[in-house]
């Protein structure tokens, strides 16, 4: 039905032993009966033992690559005649996208990127072109992973804003709520039956249960605590484990750093100016004519945490962490961001 309306549908599916978002044509492609097991540095899919479609927590990516592409051309230049360069902007193709199964943490991250790319000064034309075309079909998260802590950041597990349609999965179907005109018009085309009081009760029970999460972050601006602990010995201790690989920043739905690169054509007729995701864990990120501002891993990890939990508040009026837990799951050595923050800011480890 969405395809008939001109949407390309993007939905979760099992790819390379993980839940990934990609083009989807049929409901059978959804990860029905699949569940996941996540822990620091650990991700495994397993059989859920029931027939639900969304009985899993987020995989490595969801919305971020759809609006802020891992690599995209910004413009190209050509010097067909000597003494002249012709510049031409390159914008993403306009393509209405319906994204099925978006979680509240990712909507919170999308709103941060909206501020960054569209509301603070210059509007980013590539981000805008993709963002404008989104139809978001959210799913209330009933199966958070052990690495999730969205309750403590205030970003989940229920979605309260930013979606067009919202689904909550129950044993006997879905409760569907529409939030926008686009969402209402899609909903009107569905053959739905009225929700029963028992189903609403089941929904409330499911969401209350989903709030029981093991991990949490102090839900406040930690600028002061971090500034007081710039030389905490824990930074070096983390650096002994951290590989500086940048997995955390790639999977983080709020990380926006990117570098610009030039790709000249081999025949010299034109050259394309790209941007691609970058990471504050890379050597080049802080390079400036002969000097690297953050040559050590301890300084890079400190930069990443201070930005997320401290200076982000100055920039965006909220923390840069939405509690999705991806940086914990996808860290190859299992560094737990929430625990490190507690140790550095509060002097406490998990029990």
């Amino acid at each position: 039905m969405l395809e008939q309306r001109g949407y390309t549908c993007i939905g979760p599916q099992v790819r390379e032993q993980a839940i990934q978002y990609d083009v989807i044509h049929h409901i059978d492609e959804l990860p029905r009966g699949v569940s996941d097991d996540q822990a620091p540095g650990h991700y495994r899919l397993k059989n859920s033992g029931h027939e639900r479609y969304f009985a899993w927590a987020n995989g490595p990516q969801a919305l971020k690559p759809l609006v802020f592409s891992p690599s995209e051309p910004l413009w190209q230049s050509a010097n067909e005649t000597k003494g002249q360069i012709k510049f031409q902007e390159i914008l993403p193709e306009k393509k209405p996208l319906a994204v099925i199964g978006v979680r509240s943490c990712d909507i919170a991250a999308l709103y941060i990127h909206d501020k960054h790319f569209l509301q603070h000064g210059y509007r980013d034309p590539c981000y805008l072109a993709r963002r404008d075309e989104l139809l978001l079909i959210a799913v209330n998260c009933t199966h958070p992973a052990k690495t999730c802590f969205c309750v403590s950041t205030g970003d989940g597990p229920s979605a309260h804003y930013g979606y067009d349609l919202l689904l909550t999965e129950l044993d006997d179907g879905f409760v569907i709520q529409a939030h926008t005109e686009k969402g209402i018009s899609v909903k009107q085309q569905l053959h739905l039956s009225a929700v029963t009081a028992m189903q609403l009760e089941a929904l409330d029970r499911a969401m209350a249960q989903s709030k029981q999460q093991q991990r949490h972050l102090p839900s406040k601006d930690l600028s002061y605590e971090l500034m007081e602990n710039l030389t905490h010995p824990r930074w070096e201790e983390i650096a002994n484990r951290c590989l500086s690989c940048g997995n955390c920043t790639s999977v983080c739905p709020t990380c926006f750093c990117h570098s610009e690169v030039e790709e000249p054509a081999l025949d010299g007729t034109h050259s394309v100016h790209f941007r691609q995701w970058d990471s504050c864990f890379s050597q080049k990120h802080s390079y400036i004519h002969g000097l690297t501002i953050r040559p050590d891993t301890s300084l890079r990890y400190r930069q990443w945490m201070m930005h997320k939990l401290g200076t982000w508040h100055q920039q965006f009026g909220r923390s840069g962490c939405v509690g999705c837990g991806r940086c914990i799951t996808w860290c190859p050595v299992g560094i737990d961001f929430t625990e490190e923050a507690r140790i550095i800011c509060e002097g406490k480890e998990y029990d």
């Binding site: 360069i85 510049f87 710039l230 400036i288 300084l299």
Partner: protein, 277 residues
């Protein structure tokens, strides 16, 4: 909506070799309408693009009232700046800007002015000095202090000679290691500080250059009783977009490219001089 990433074509009108590895490109947009509407403040920068090589941020050194030409003085230190050094008159490059917040020149009017630079640091303040020189009566005592490592790094000697002739103006120059013909101070630029003349209640201090040098000047000025919000510094960090999106230039919560590059010491104080920011 105009695309903020898209450069405009500009032509090299003149190229000046300032020192063995420093050169000035005098540019003009090839589209007359673009040139006519272009305006900037001293302390701001442009992103310069060399075809097939890449983009770099470079501060603007010409006078903002000069409608016909935009000057950039560049040191050949990296891939793009080295490649750009082979540009000649008539060649074209891409330019977009201006970006960032410049020097507080309106606030500086009627006040004494101290400008301290080190190394190539003088480039971002040359437009300030030209600006003040052309409007000398609006400012109080003027102190121009410049330190270089080697005497060969000292460029624009004739400009300094010109500034030295301005009323109520002191030009203090130092080189760490000087040749016999160097007529100025040999040693640290800090040795010259006591020769500056200014009223600490009515002064604006502008600094540009290596952060170690700026730290020393800030410390000295604070000891003299100059308020932190009257000391201004031009900061440098890795910049790729120039418009606050790419994230490289972050200094704590500030984006150097759009919140700076010129900041008051008061704004930088919590992090200034701390390693890793």
């Amino acid at each position: 909506m105009t695309n903020p990433y898209l450069p405009m074509q500009a032509e090299v009108i003149e190229r000046i070799q300032e020192s063995p590895n420093m050169y000035t490109l005098r540019l003009r947009f090839t589209d007359p309408a673009t040139q006519a509407t272009y305006s900037f403040e001293p302390g701001q920068f442009n992103m310069l693009y060399l075809y097939g090589v890449g983009e770099i941020p470079i501060s603007i050194v010409s006078d903002p009232k000069d409608e016909h030409i935009i000057d950039h003085t560049i040191r050949a230190v990296g891939r793009v700046t080295n490649a750009m050094s082979s540009l000649n008159v008539g060649d074209v490059i891409g330019v977009r800007g201006p970006y960032g917040r410049g020097w507080p020149l309106l606030e500086a009017e009627q006040r004494d002015v101290v400008v301290v630079t080190g190394g190539l640091g003088c480039a971002p303040v040359v437009s300030v000095l030209n600006y003040i020189a052309n409007r000398r009566e609006r400012f109080g005592k003027l102190n121009i202090v410049q330190g270089v490592k080697h005497t060969c790094d000292f460029i624009w000697r004739e400009r300094y000679d010109h500034w030295r002739e301005l009323p109520d103006t002191r030009v203090l120059l130092a080189a760490d290691d000087g040749e016999p013909i160097w007529p100025f101070h040999i040693g640290r630029v800090t040795d010259l500080f006591t020769q500056m003349e200014f009223n600490r209640e009515h002064v604006i201090v502008m600094l540009c250059g290596p952060e170690g040098m700026m730290r020393v000047v800030v410390k000295y000025m604070l000891e003299q009783g100059v308020a932190g919000n009257k000391i201004w510094l031009s900061m440098e960090r890795n910049m790729q977009c120039g418009i606050g999106h790419c994230g490289h230039c972050q200094y704590g919560g500030k984006f150097v490219c759009k919140d700076g590059p010129v900041f008051s010491y008061e704004e930088l104080k919590p992090l200034f001089g701390k390693r890793g920011f």
